[in-house]
């Protein structure tokens, strides 16, 4: 069973005929706030219906054997447990495939204290905002005096930078260098702190207005860092793995498929997909891969080289394969006609940590991200896979960005501590350092690491005409299995309303989500 299309409001609210005592009238989309505090989204108007379905589920369970019940736990695939109504229905379907009966009919009998009928203490009752704002947190406490002082001065320095008081900032940086000398810079806040001090000092010395603070690496150097980051920690592997799962399912039953990779790099994601397609029951489809990447300035055509390697692999497993490289410095330089999408093929667009780069200042035609999402939608992809850093490094105020990235990257560095392989670890740290530098030092169009959290991407993608494709319990289980291959305990996969996140302990660090384009009303379907 593939990722299911978003089942928005239709399933439960229309069949509400059997409830006897309707709750007070609510706006149709009003979510119940009591259950929201428990992590569930249920429309207030659907509560009685959900209760009835639960009762029905119980009677069905009572009639099933414990073995049957635990079997459906083992074998079936589930999606988005936050949507309680659909979760209950999916259980009913698993246990009772023939009966599609509605609730047992008796909506009465509930104690009438179902709303906040008691004297309310605003603190107790209004938990609406608990998850409203995204904030940062730390995993290891900063308790040693020097470390505390380091954070204190870092913040003060960042504040000075925000105010434009560069001379004070400069003095504080001297302070910071001194502190770094005393703190244990091999780990924890000492390690990540040194990267932030470095970034701040670059910013102070070369203010963003004056020019480039971050030297571009050659594509080759970039690839080296990327590769070691890939090896040292599971974030990219998780991204690739999860994306491939979802793409594979989206391509089910399709004979001609076309994957558009927004950042080919060394094509590390694709051998696994090629092999999975080769093993597909019924045989592999014709696979086209279009890889987007920066133009090579050193004479090599690296896109083509990667394409050739992948073609060779595909040939060795009997998958008909065609590759095309599209060189572009920026994603918004890509024009859809360059991708040569054919109406007959099923398209998957794969964006691993790329969309945030489009959140910078827009040109005359509007924000780059909107333009790109628009042409993606025009391609009518069966799946748009989006993996992004789970943090808000795109806030308007410099200090907020600084603070949030300090904690985000501390956590990421913490997780890297578990890796001991060299030079993987050091080069991975350098890879991350470049991200930090971009977030802290750069502004305007030079600042490309404009990470935004899942909750914002959901809004943006929904607004741009995409519907969620939920990643299910099978993807979740497999991601967890992938992580056990790493000796480091501490990585955790979590399910978040149909999306999956990978994090370090209790802090998600990257989020993977899948989307499907809602066809534009004005498009005349031409047999796609």
């Amino acid at each position: 069973m593939g990722p299911t299309p978003y089942n928005s409001s239709n399933s439960s609210s229309s069949a509400c005929s059997s409830s006897t005592k309707p709750p007070p009238p609510q706006p149709p989309d009003q979510m119940d706030h009591l259950l929201a505090g428990a992590g569930y989204k249920v429309r207030s108007n659907d509560l009685t219906q959900v209760a009835e379905r639960l009762e029905h589920l119980e009677t069905v369970m009572v009639k099933s054997s414990p073995v049957d019940i635990s079997d459906i736990g083992n074998d079936a695939v589930y999606y988005n447990p936050t949507d309680l109504a659909s979760w209950v229905d999916s259980l009913l379907t698993e246990l009772n495939p023939n009966g599609s009966g509605s609730g047992s009919g008796s909506g009465s009998g509930f104690v009438s204290g179902s709303g906040p009928a008691y004297v309310s203490d605003p603190v107790m009752n209004d938990m609406n905002n608990v998850y409203g704002e995204f904030g940062q947190q730390v995993v290891t406490p900063i308790e040693e005096d020097v470390s505390i002082r380091l954070v204190h001065v870092l913040m003060t320095c960042a504040e000075a930078v925000q105010r434009g008081d560069l001379s004070l900032a400069g003095l504080l940086i001297d302070d910071l260098q001194g502190l770094l000398g005393r703190v244990n810079s091999g780990c924890g806040i000492g390690k990540v702190g040194s990267f932030f001090v470095d970034a701040l000092s670059r910013r102070v010395v070369n203010s963003p207005q004056n020019g480039v603070v971050q030297v571009d690496l050659s594509a080759y150097e970039n690839e080296i860092l990327y590769h070691h980051y890939y090896e040292a920690c599971p974030y990219l592997k998780f991204a690739h793995f999860t994306a491939n799962q979802a793409i594979l399912e989206a391509f089910d039953g399709q004979d001609c498929v076309h994957v558009i990779d927004f950042n080919l790099m060394q094509g590390l994601q694709w051998p696994a997909l090629i092999q999975a397609l080769a093993l597909r029951p019924g045989g592999p489809p014709l696979l086209r891969l279009t890889g987007i990447g920066p133009p090579s300035l050193d004479g090599r055509d690296s896109l083509r080289e990667i394409g050739l390697k992948l073609a060779e692999l595909a040939r060795s497993v009997n998958v008909r394969f065609a590759f095309r490289g599209v060189a572009a410095t920026r994603l918004d330089d890509v024009k859809p006609w360059m991708l040569q999408v054919s109406p007959k093929e099923a398209v998957a667009v794969n964006s691993i940590m790329q969309l945030h780069k489009l959140l910078g200042p827009g040109g005359p035609r509007g924000p780059p991200v909107d333009l790109v999402l628009d042409w993606i939608r025009d391609l009518n992809p069966r799946i748009l896979m989006v993996v992004e850093q789970e943090s808000n490094h795109n806030q308007p105020e410099f200090l907020d960005r600084f603070t949030e990235s300090l904690y985000y990257y501390s956590t990421m560095f913490d997780s890297l501590d578990a890796c001991t392989a060299q030079p993987e670890k050091t080069l991975a740290e350098l890879y991350i350092q470049r991200e930090i530098c971009n977030v802290v030092c750069c502004e305007g169009s030079a600042r490309v690491e404009r990470h935004e959290p899942l909750v914002r991407w959901r809004e943006r993608l929904t607004g741009a005409g995409f519907a969620p494709l939920h990643l299910g319990s099978n993807a979740f289980k497999q991601a967890r299995m992938l992580l056990t291959l790493f000796s480091a305990e501490g990585y955790s996969v979590e399910e978040n309303e149909g999306c999956l996140t990978l994090g370090w302990h209790s802090r998600p660090l990257i989020a993977a989500s899948a989307w499907q384009a809602i066809p534009k009303p004005s498009v005349v379907t031409t047999g796609r």
Partner: protein, 348 residues
């Protein structure tokens, strides 16, 4: 059989509000799928289903939280909840929450620190489960102090005594944090609390603390999980009637206790044939909350009696018409009664 279960469903419905019925029933039915007859547990599906929330250093309703790893070897993580300080600095920024780790909670007032062990029959839930995060936030705001929610290791992967070890380690850690000190002494004013299995853990950690001379000012046990080989009247009478079946309780004990052990093991049956004598032990005062529709109540009442017989200070709060989990949602009088009791318990 089907007939008697229909009656059960209707009875539970009569005593709890709609939201509570939905919430607890959902857990009950989902958990049925996770417990395998062979004693193993479907941990993958359990983690997939558990609704979790991230810690948040931005105060919400005056409370903020952050996570701390206190033992890398076991991965023991605690979630700390604190009340936000009034914003006195003009340039107040979110990092202030972390900077507060420099200073004691107060030099003059006593600020209670409650170490909380979440429930889940030793098997389910985590410190970052939404239901427990919400509960701990409420608790923090109520006591105007600090709550430390322990993400202890769970069974069946980690049986007895892992959870107790994690609790003990947390207690020692809490006592040694300069930023949890308060009062004129100053010292860390620690209470232990927990619901269901968390209550059981709180008892055992308190006992260990008493033996080691580590101070715990009080225990708050919300329908703590105790048991024994004997079948008590409440277990028989209430079996299957209010969300819980005896056979499920048995499964969780089998998953938690060392293999081959029975429910008279001292972890489970505190004042039973293998129980430890608490007479003369400097055990903290206890608040034991018993729900009148909880089938475990006879064991909880035996526990209260056992404490009394051992000369220990204990207050019983018997909520006749409450079911398990009444404290998850603020939609019933038992919830507010409980909150009042907790508040006075930590301020007396």
């Amino acid at each position: 059989m089907a007939g008697s279960n229909e009656i059960n469903v209707n009875e539970a419905k009569k005593v709890v509000p709609l939201h509570t019925w939905i919430l607890i029933s959902n857990f009950k039915l989902a958990y049925n799928m996770l417990r395998r007859p062979d004693g193993t547990f479907n941990r993958e599906l359990a983690e997939f289903l558990d609704r979790k929330v991230v810690a948040n250093t931005v105060p919400v309703d005056g409370v903020y939280s952050f996570d701390v790893i206190i033992d890398r070897a076991t991965g023991l993580l605690n979630r700390i909840y604190r009340c936000a300080l009034p914003e006195t600095e003009p340039g107040h920024h979110p990092a202030a929450g972390i900077l507060d780790l420099e200073n004691p909670l107060s030099m003059t007032e006593i600020v209670p620190v409650v170490i909380f062990f979440h429930g889940g029959s030793f098997t389910h839930s985590s410190a970052n489960s939404a239901i427990y995060d919400t509960f701990c936030r409420r608790l923090t705001g109520l006591i105007k102090g600090v709550v430390v929610s322990v993400n202890y290791r769970r069974s069946p992967e980690h049986r007895y005594p892992c959870a107790y070890e994690d609790g003990w380690e947390t207690l020692q850690w809490v006592h040694s944090r300069p930023w949890l000190l308060s009062g004129k002494d100053p010292k860390v004013h620690v209470y232990l609390a927990g619901d269901s299995s968390g209550g059981n853990i709180a008892h055992h950690v308190a006992f260990r603390a008493a033996e080691a001379g580590v101070e715990v000012l009080g225990n708050m046990l919300l329908h703590p999980l105790f048991g024994g080989e004997e079948r008590t009247e409440s277990e028989t009478k209430l079996d299957g009637k209010y969300f819980v079946r005896v056979q499920d309780r048995d499964w969780y004990w089998r998953a938690f206790l060392p293999e081959g052990e029975d429910r008279d093991h001292p972890a489970c049956n505190i004042f039973g044939p293998r129980g430890v004598d608490l007479k003369g032990v400097k055990f903290p005062k206890s608040l034991v909350v018993v729900a009148g529709f909880d089938l475990v109540q006879d064991w909880q009442l035996k526990y209260v009696e056992g404490l009394e017989n051992a000369g220990q200070e204990v207050k019983l709060l018997f909520l006749k018409k409450a079911t398990i989990g009444f404290y998850f949602l603020p939609n019933n009088e038992h919830f507010y009664t409980l909150m009042d009791e907790i508040k006075s318990f930590v301020s007396s």
